[in-house]
Symmetry: none
Subunit: 131 residues, 4 copies
């Protein structure tokens, strides 16, 4: 299973949301498919060196959102894939993120060409991606 979770401790986005979003992303790019199992709470908490309550919170959210389902005593499994957001919602979120990014780096003094190049370079580092 080519599925991996990495968290940033210093980030402003909480750890449990990082986990949720990374699972969502893995589902979106089909790195995780229906029926695939997720690591156990304790093993993942152990691996990420975070409190197991944090992982539990993320898993609860995934279940609440219908992305995963829990089977008592067996673990967590990916549920049927559904489209998670509407097109408009996706575009709105994209623009929100993009505008913050652009504002930040423009104020740092980066030029347009440098911004494009920089993004391309960071994208190149990302391993598993369609396109």
């Amino acid at each position: 299973m080519n599925f991996q979770i990495n968290i940033l401790l210093g980030s402003d986005v909480p750890i449990y949301r990082q986990i949720v979003e990374q699972v969502k992303h893995a589902v979106a790019i089909a790195a995780l498919k229906e029926g695939d199992s997720l690591p156990s709470i304790r093993s993942l908490a152990n691996r990420l060196v975070v409190n197991h309550n944090t992982v539990a919170k993320a898993y609860n959210l995934l279940v609440a959102e219908g992305i995963a389902r829990s089977e008592k005593g067996r673990g967590l499994f990916i549920a049927t894939h559904r489209n998670l957001y509407s097109k408009e919602e996706l575009r709105r979120r994209f623009n929100e993120s993009a505008d913050r990014f652009v504002g930040d780096v423009l104020m740092l003094g980066f030029k347009k060409s440098e911004i494009i190049e920089g993004i391309q370079s960071r994208l190149a580092d990302v391993a598993i991606l369609k396109d």
Copy 2:
């Protein structure tokens, strides 16, 4: 002066950050230029219907980042641009912003090509500026 601040209450991004980002954006698109004055803390607080400390916090941040300068008893003004950060720090901050952005939008399911296009489109807005 065609400069306006609007905030979204109930957003997950704190009010003071919304203010900071909008001022940054205004500077980036040259709606605010060196020497321009910002609305007074209390008048802006009044207009946005938030507490004046919230505006003060935003303004403090702008001062800390070298974007504005404060003159006691006179008000806040857009500062002359100076190269505050070292090359490494600039790169670090760029990567931090870029990784956050890339992480966010990849999780939303956008593809590399879409991300590049999206950024280019958002950058078009700031055509007035360098590069």
Copy 3:
């Protein structure tokens, strides 16, 4: 951990700055090292008998200057040192600090030689450190 903060109420230098300066000083003389935790906002506020927001403001400044890093729900820690500022900015800040200091003590009537001697004597305290 031989680290203690004491404040003078009624001083003309604000409480939050006293805290910032004492933490900086502790780091300078290596009484605080990378990874060391700072007292929690509320416990320090309690101990100093000041409002927790005042401590929070001091801690925010330390984070902004890259001296500390905050981990939500865990506490504040001394950050790894990084070269935050550009050469020009470092020089500018040095000169700013130096000019303020020189101005202050010249106005007190100290002579050049006394100033140099005085600084050397204060620097002796931080003998543990570089150079």
Copy 4:
């Protein structure tokens, strides 16, 4: 009369205190002697490009501290010279300023030798000084 006042607008020490301290300093180094006249409020305010109330406040303080005396319709004159501070007070103030300066620049990463050199260089720029 080799007496000059220069103010820093961006400083954290208020303009009126800068004026007071510079007059005190001039008295301390005998650039101003008993009976010397000070510039008129309006002329000084004009020269420094500050509000004349600010100059008036400074002059009031100088009179209140017994450093100057006002003669109605004629202007302000330096009063008899007295020692302004006790030795202990002077030393305490020196150390306070020195410690803040040292703390600041050490945190900026400057080394002891650089600090001494830097101070010497800034002192060299100061024009009128005994020693």
